[in-house]
Symmetry: C2
Subunit: 410 residues, 2 copies
């Protein structure tokens, strides 16, 4: 085994290591079910959108020039030569001084280059209208190719598909798209004191909380969690569980082992894999320092802190971006946006490490206030009360009340 670093890394150094992992392969998915999936192909416009000039209002298709100068006091007179039926090619053409009735979405007839809104026209009789406002060429319509021109790139590899992206793909007839597979993430719980959630813990035992918390975090990231059960602090069992998980998954999380002994033990188990590369052995963050990242069989194998609170914070700030990279995401999207807020209380912080402080968001005077959640760091109830965490940089010694912060939601 090779160890690239023997020292504790900072957040940016750890995140930089994501480039050491390859994104997963891709598969064909139904567009209908593709929201949140990450596109694995560039999609280009197969034709103009719209394919024809469409009216955006109910009214009359005309030659715009024939309306120039029209006003309430001096209306322009038009002869109505017909009507455009929805979804059909117009059977009429429009010459100077002529108008064709058209509804929103209808195809402009030949000769027309503008649409007069219904409320700006007055019917005189069955075949004549007066127009009281002028329209410019191109007004109240969308020209062929105005939305997307034939050949334009409409969506790029690595984009997380939003509803509007799905709409555009449908507009070009793509009812199936190539998306990255959803990464499968194995979760191994460790610790001699841990019992399954469905069991009744003995007097010194606790239920497996981390498995469910991590499964939720993995699923929220768009990946598929698979639990590999609880493994006691025994070398062969943990080694075998890791091997099984590495074979079946794209990433593996070993959860537990908060004690120094358990951590050393995880490193020992990981190191025993042929070609294992220990990339991270400690991160300069609090909570979450005792985090391990190794590359084994080309895959990311994490040792996460046993405290569920630390584990959640490490997942949100460190594991999640790496998992998104492995899932093919090119750039963060809206759901990764941090919320700007102001601290409503002084917060202490240690220099030399990045501190994460749990906060609740309160809406006050048109802005968000971030209220630090008090209580011992190991208490799960502090996470339940929190909306997220703020990050205090390693060169900052605490923040004052009123300081601008950005909240990472969970």
């Amino acid at each position: 085994m090779t160890q690239a670093f023997f020292k504790v890394l900072d957040v940016e150094q750890v995140l930089g290591l994501r480039q050491r992992f390859q994104p997963v392969s891709s598969e064909d998915v139904l567009l209908e079910a593709a929201v949140g999936r990450i596109l694995a192909e560039d999609v280009h416009a197969a034709g103009n959108l719209p394919g024809f000039a469409r009216s955006t209002v109910d009214g009359y298709a005309v030659r715009a020039a024939s309306t120039f100068g029209a006003s309430e006091s001096s209306p322009a007179l038009f002869t109505v030569v017909g009507a455009v039926a929805m979804g059909e090619v117009p059977q009429v053409a429009v010459a100077a001084g002529e108008a064709a009735r058209i509804a929103t979405g209808g195809m402009l007839p030949p000769g027309a280059d503008g649409v007069v809104m219904l409320e700006h026209a007055e019917s005189l009789d069955d075949v004549s209208i007066e127009v009281v406002r002028s329209v410019a060429p191109g007004q109240n319509l969308i020209a062929a190719g105005e939305d997307f021109e034939n050949g334009a790139r409409v969506a790029a590899v690595g984009r997380r598909l939003r509803p509007q992206d799905m709409g555009v793909l449908a507009a070009f007839g793509r009812t199936r798209v190539k998306a990255f597979r959803q990464p499968v993430v194995g979760i191994i719980s460790t610790g001699d004191e841990i019992v399954p959630a469905e069991a009744t813990p003995g007097p010194a035992q606790i239920r497996d909380v981390n498995r469910y918390t991590l499964a939720g975090l993995v699923a929220q990231t768009g990946a598929l969690p698979v639990a590999f059960g609880i493994v006691g602090d025994e070398f062969q069992s943990l080694h075998a569980a890791c091997r099984r998980a590495l074979e079946q998954c794209d990433m593996v999380l070993i959860s537990g082992g908060s004690s120094v002994g358990a951590r050393d033990f995880s490193v020992e188990v990981i190191s025993a894999f042929a070609g294992a590369e220990l990339l991270v052995h400690g991160i300069a963050i609090s909570p979450g320092k005792p985090t391990i990242l190794a590359k084994v069989f080309g895959k990311a194998l994490w040792g996460l802190p046993g405290h569920v609170v630390s584990s959640m914070i490490v997942f949100s700030r460190i594991v999640r971006p790496v998992l998104l990279h492995i899932g093919g995401l090119a750039a963060p999207t809206a759901e990764d946006i941090r919320i700007p807020a102001r601290l409503n209380r002084n917060v202490a912080s240690a220099q030399g490490r990045t501190d994460f402080v749990r906060v609740r968001l309160l809406h006050r005077e048109n802005e968000w206030r971030a209220e630090p959640i008090l209580g011992k760091s190991g208490l799960i109830n502090t996470m339940v009360k929190s909306d997220g965490v703020i990050e205090i940089g390693k060169n900052i010694e605490g923040l004052d009340e009123g300081a601008r912060v950005e909240v990472i939601l969970f």
Copy 2:
């Protein structure tokens, strides 16, 4: 049919109508797959959490009083009387001047009320240590019931389950929970010009974009979209499709019909249902004014604008909160938080209606700037370029560059 209102309503009036609809029924779900689901029961702590006092560090369990006054220059001497094994009830008790080796997560032995961190103790020989820092009673441990006391409410009806909530439920042995069913939302596309996405449109036809966009929005809201295909502008067909959808779904969206004629037609079809109640016929918003909401067979039946852009905005601001109510949500959670930003350009707006302006978010100088997206309102590409919309209140006549706004993400 009764018509509660004949006038155009504003946003808050429409949202207030959600109380007219009952939330869906509930079902048992596996906790493992419950992230994002809405809890349909109050969950109380079935016992203390933790069930016993646990160490939060690696070190020595002691009587805190025995450490008082200890310092580097005047260490306190302790006799090591044993070690606590993880997951097992301690076989030793600790008296004054005695210490038991303990790892993070271990159960405190009888007599101990504090834990000295390993780095604050120095081993003299196999059975003696010197402690160089005092600990307070309760320090470096979590007392029994300190996280949650027996009987405390740990999660309430209407809460959207986050990973940390799943963790807490697991801690109390709840591997199944009662959650509201995911509402089933029917989507009916209308319009004689609409063809299925897999078809090749004729010269005056366009593909069904709205179905996919709406399916994405519905799924993002935690509900289950079901497409009922495309129905032409023909009374019997639309009426039959609505009936089928109302029978199978908890909410129905009729998408399309941007023209005044098509809208009137939708109202006519809806009104033909026995007991139908037209609640909304127009909303004072732009875009999205021609929105219809009726209560038919106790269910919400929406007529959404045919323009996909308007339809998306109406969904995000109006339909989504109503759907979340029907899905059992009691209060918005982090994913519904709006992003505070500053406008980076003047924006015009009309009084008397709520205007929605598409914006892109740019991160500048430690805050978000909202950049209005230019382009005709009917263009889908404007939605693809946007990160969300800002809402300009009906009594506001435009906003200046630098104004504080809040962005509704999509």
